[in-house]
Amino acid sequence: MNAYRNLVRVFVRDTFSLKRLLGFDAKHAKVKAMVIGLALIYAIVALFGTIGWMFFDLSRALEAMGQGSLVMVFLGVYIVVIALVMALLRANGMVFHYKDYDFLAALPVTTRTIVAAKLTIFMMLVMVMSVLLALPVAFAYFYHAGVSMVGLLFVLVGVLALPVLPALVGAFIALGLARLLVRYRSAHVLNILVMFGVLIGFFLASFSFGDMGENPLLAQQAFMETLERVYPFFVWFSRAVAEGAVVPMLGVVMGAVVPIGLFLWCASPLVSAVNRLARSGVKKSRKSGYHGRVSSPFVALVHKEYRKFISTPIYALNVGVGPILMAVMAIAAVFYREGVVSMLEGLIGMDGALEATVLLVVGFTLSMVYSAAISLSLEGKYFWVVRSLPIRGATLMQAKMVFNLLLGVPISILSVWLFAWSFGIPLINVVFMTLLVMAFAVLKTSLDAIINLYMPKFNFQNDVEVVKQSVGAFLGVFGGFALMVMNALGFVGLTTVVSAPLALALLSLANGVLSVPLIVYINRRSDALIYQMKST
């Protein structure tokens, strides 16, 4: 128990420190810390605002139908899905296959204790996410249903208990997958493909429940009612909160406590095996000697980015999920035009202007391609390699930008044309939509590159910390969303005075013109900025 406590204390300090989160010491860079703090506040307000608005509307509607407690089922389902996805993506690296294995394995502590400590940290992260999601939902629910102290207490307990089981199931699936694939040289690629399958499955399932009105949650009511019957914890949770019932609450809590014991019992030997095999059991190549491929320095740099991308599942999943979803929707649009139009309009919350709807969807998914905002950070302990090579900092950044563009632009253009063909958008509009997508991608990528030049994070143990938790990742995604919103407002404003094709052309020009100073800045400043960077 003492060893467990000590390990948890060390892991907490290591995982949740401000320096670790920001990637720099806030004491020595107060202005930078303040800017990031403001951006974080903006993101939290935006998140709470969006979720709060949807659930406020939903709570009112359900309360009017006498089904107010169903809001808690919604909350439960979302918590469970988030926990499951988080576990699938992050258990590999946090619960097993962790970087400090060599150090921990040498300690006189059982694997079960180490796994328990690692699991505790992972659960803390999952619970933080659950609480963040629950705050606006609980506000919306209690606003309409009336506040009760027992209800509030049970929401808190339930929000902490509900994600445990799905997180354990997700971790066990990820662990099993890792055990099956660990010996294969291309395990990471298989892992990426399986995870993409799971994510696309979730995405399609969550938006396939009939017509959506202004609030997409209302369309999921029937689905939630089905889940309520299938997974008893949802109904126990909603009854406990709505009626203040203790017994169902105990059921929810037991549903969290018992599986933890089972997981530690069953998974610990598997964790040992995966950790061990990952270091020594990978099948060796039968080839021998040097077989090379000649390319220019720039192409070599772009290739390097590509290899990093396909060999890091968490990187590929987070940065690659946008284009994949976009392609799935575009292909689906060819076969199920009406359904996809309805879904897109439900997602975007507007109808009529199909061009705008398509551009918003493409812009939204393109904004999720943020490799240029993190790939310099991902050099991490290898940063000395590129720094010691005879290449300009600007060339390095250009290679990273080109890779980012290659990742997002071809699929975006293809998707625009597929959507256009399916929806019967006039050719002239499609040409200007394509131009706009390209110009937007260049602007967004340039902005991302500057973000990473100014906010690199080299001190990390696991790529996840850069891909999902770094300031670069956060600003990359939200900066892209902000740019997209500005373009959307521009389109709406311009179409009141000029035709749609001209509005698209003007927006393309604006994005292109705005990109120029950013690209010039990157070319001029990268050398100096990279030379001055402090890395590990």
Binding site: G289, A300, R307, K308, S311, T312, P390
Partner: protein, 241 residues
């Protein structure tokens, strides 16, 4: 080949890592840079390699400033750090190819050089495996291979013999001889005094960021051993400071 003049470096405005460091390494020199842990050896090597910015002074490689002409200088030098962290997602093959592509080494030359050094350091059989599966010593051999295929004018190594097996150490010393005969300057840090004493024609000793002795090995050692000189110099320096 390498001229270091009055170089200073301070970390976070607090820790003085290099204080008024001046050194000269000529073509064909095998120069040992000796010092205790934290003396400033790695800081100086990184500063020469362009991996770390220094505050004041001048570093010239073949007459060119590392600050004013960094790309030209980097073409002429190869730096091998003490901790051979290289892209673990790549195979050994992909890594040496990446280096060869960046330096524009033509296909025949790269095939011949990679073949020669990979065979010499016995990593030919693992070139197609990912670097993540390499041991520390294998990574170091790969980084050394990546450095040698460029045929640099100045080769800099940070603690090169740490992590290498005896055979690889022996082979590396032979490579040093071959490179010196070709006119390559070799500048390496070490705290293994025996190695420096036996191998180097010139040595410098650094203590708390300051050079306390520099010259030919004979001049520095005189009639005693390098170990004796090293300990004496450190004691003297301690008393003075």
């Amino acid at each position: 080949m390498l001229e270091i003049t009055r170089v200073y470096k301070t970390y976070d405005n607090v820790k003085k890592a290099l204080i008024d460091v001046s050194l000269s390494v000529k073509a064909g020199d095998l120069y040992g840079f000796i010092g205790h842990n934290g003396a400033g050896k790695t800081t100086l090597l990184k500063s020469i390699a362009g991996v770390l910015a220094f505050d004041k002074g001048e570093i010239l490689v073949d007459g060119r400033s590392v600050v004013d002409e960094p790309l030209r200088v980097k073409h002429d030098i190869a730096y091998i750090p003490d901790n051979p962290n290289v892209y673990e997602s790549m195979t050994g093959n992909q890594y040496v190819d990446f280096i060869a592509n960046i330096y524009g080494i033509d296909p025949d030359a790269r095939r011949q050089r990679i073949g020669e050094y990979a065979t010499m350091f016995e990593i030919s059989d693992v070139l197609h495996d990912t670097i993540a599966s390499y041991s520390r010593g294998m990574k170091q051999k790969l980084v050394i291979t990546g450095a040698l295929i460029r045929e640099p004018k100045l080769l800099m190594l940070d603690e090169p013999f740490v992590g290498l097996d005896p055979k690889a150490s022996f082979l590396l010393k032979q490579v040093f001889d071959k490179l010196r005969a070709r006119g390559t300057a070799i500048f390496f840090s070490t705290h293994v005094l025996d190695v420096a004493e036996k191998l180097c024609n010139r040595i410098a000793i650094i203590k708390h960021g300051q050079i306390v002795a520099a010259g030919t090995t004979k001049e520095v050692i005189k009639d005693t051993s390098l170990e004796g000189v090293f300990m004496e110099l450190l004691d003297n320096h301690e008393r003075l400071s």
